[in-house]
Subunit: 294 residues, 2 copies
């Protein structure tokens, strides 16, 4: 979750091109950081603190997944409200632990602070580049099909805390198939698709009929009055991957569904990259990128 | 700046020994994180925001210096008060820039958040291990002399924001001399000396007569009623290095003063490591480790 405007300024001042992806790559090392803040990313009284700890780590792992990297170690910095004390830190850690174990991560260090204000947790994750190299946002080609690794929309009901980062899925696909580009959906399908296509110098046609709308999007639409499809297109924090693959590879992937048996994950075709910039539906009407802008 | 109690628990649960030093070492990579919070580490209305940005980076660089490492890249996460906006981020960055340039650091990424509470800035610094290997807290031997790289005490008056991390000094000394152990003084001379000696399985005799008391400690003592020496012994955030070196090497270093011409830095002898645990003055009276406990 990267603040676009500030990063643009920094990018212009540091002359680095490292900042436009889900994570930075320095030699063989991938690095990414995400900070969650109380009242913005979670409400402390309404969410199990374990979920907060889990999410703080998982959002970073999703960035590593989008790069096709292997996560290796993490450092954790927290600002704890004085009223909560060290028990909260313990709960945050309990929430991280299953992911630490699942991905064999080293907890390499931390900085624990207490203060009189809200909870802040910032995690930095290091990863390793595989022999296949990293996946970038900017590798898409005209005609590439965009596949997504799961259902979209309504994440705010629960999925935003309990999603599974697509680490193993990305590694498997990147090893066995020809992937051109990837991004994880952190701020909303249409917004992140827009980012991938812009970084690739392209636009995209969205297959509105085959967008995999989640049951949560349907449920949420009953509260909001917006359609389930609208939620699927613009809700943030799905943390599924958008993958740009050549058409013949997409056909193969959709026929084989190689992630289904291994990870219980289905790939869905959701868009095609086009030489014309901007997002459009199949009937040519314009789709404005929507989602959560930082 | 590492919260001891929480880290102890984590250490016991992760089974890792990575957490007891100024920074963690993973293969050839050194990693450290520090978070500064408003009201605890600084008062936003009373300090130039550039100083805050500078300090947030410099405290991490001091940790890398204490490991004898070469800093290479950083990621920055901030939570900005909504009332301040992006200009504050810009100022924070302006404060970091001279250090980024001085140490040729890559700004590899960031996460910028806004919220309705205080400013939080968390920086992770990556570094590289030199062919000499890393300096540890636990490498001290009985009889080792403890040298310090500068004047102590009164840092709160200004030095805490404007100190120079001892990166080049540590690299130079580690390349040309036989150093056993190191730590940076973040929480107070006596507390950090205590940590180094405990990690080395030793205690220390403090040369109270040769402690280099800073003018700021003298100035501060006029406000507090405590002696300048007390300030030098227990004030936090000097960010000088304590180095444990064999006696003959200490003699050489104090005679040569190899840092003076190169970096305008003088080495002072401040203590000797002893087989008996605990800190004592030369007359045998006990010195209780004092400083800032997180």
């Amino acid at each position: 979750m990267i603040e676009t405007e500030w990063l643009k300024r920094l990018r212009s001042r540091t002359g680095t091109e490292l900042l436009g992806d889900d994570a930075a790559v320095i030699g063989d090392t991938i690095i990414t950081v995400d900070m969650l803040t109380e009242g913005i990313d979670f409400l402390l009284g309404e969410v199990d603190p374990q979920w907060i700890g889990r999410k703080a780590l998982a959002v970073n792992l999703s960035d590593i997944a989008a790069m096709g990297g292997i996560p290796t170690s993490i450092v954790v910095a927290v600002a704890l409200p004085k009223s909560e004390g060290i028990q909260l830190a313990e709960q945050l850690y309990n929430g991280m632990e299953p992911l630490l174990r699942k991905y064999s991560l080293t907890l390499a260090g931390g900085d624990t602070n207490t203060w009189n204000q809200g909870l802040v947790i910032s995690i930095t994750v290091l990863g390793r580049v595989t022999p296949q190299g990293v996946l970038r946002r900017g590798g898409g080609k005209p005609g590439d099909q965009i596949l997504v690794t799961g259902l979209l929309g309504g994440s705010i009901l629960e999925h935003q805390f309990l999603f599974e980062p697509r680490i193993f899925e990305a590694l498997y696909l990147n090893e066995h198939f020809n992937l051109h580009a990837a991004i994880d959906i952190s701020d909303g399908f249409s917004l992140d698709l827009h980012r991938l296509s812009v970084e690739s110098g392209l636009g995209a046609t969205v297959y509105e009929k085959s967008i995999p709308v989640s049951p949560a999007a349907v449920q949420l639409s009953q509260q909001t009055g917006r359609t389930p499809l609208e939620h699927a297109l613009s809700d943030g924090e799905d943390f599924e991957l958008l993958l740009a693959v050549p058409p013949e590879e997409a056909e193969k992937l959709l026929a084989l569904q190689p992630l289904r048996k291994r990870f219980n994950v289905t790939l869905y075709p959701v868009a095609e990259l086009t030489p014309e910039p901007g997002l459009r539906f199949t009937d040519g009407t314009v789709l404005c990128p929507q989602g959560f802008e930082h």
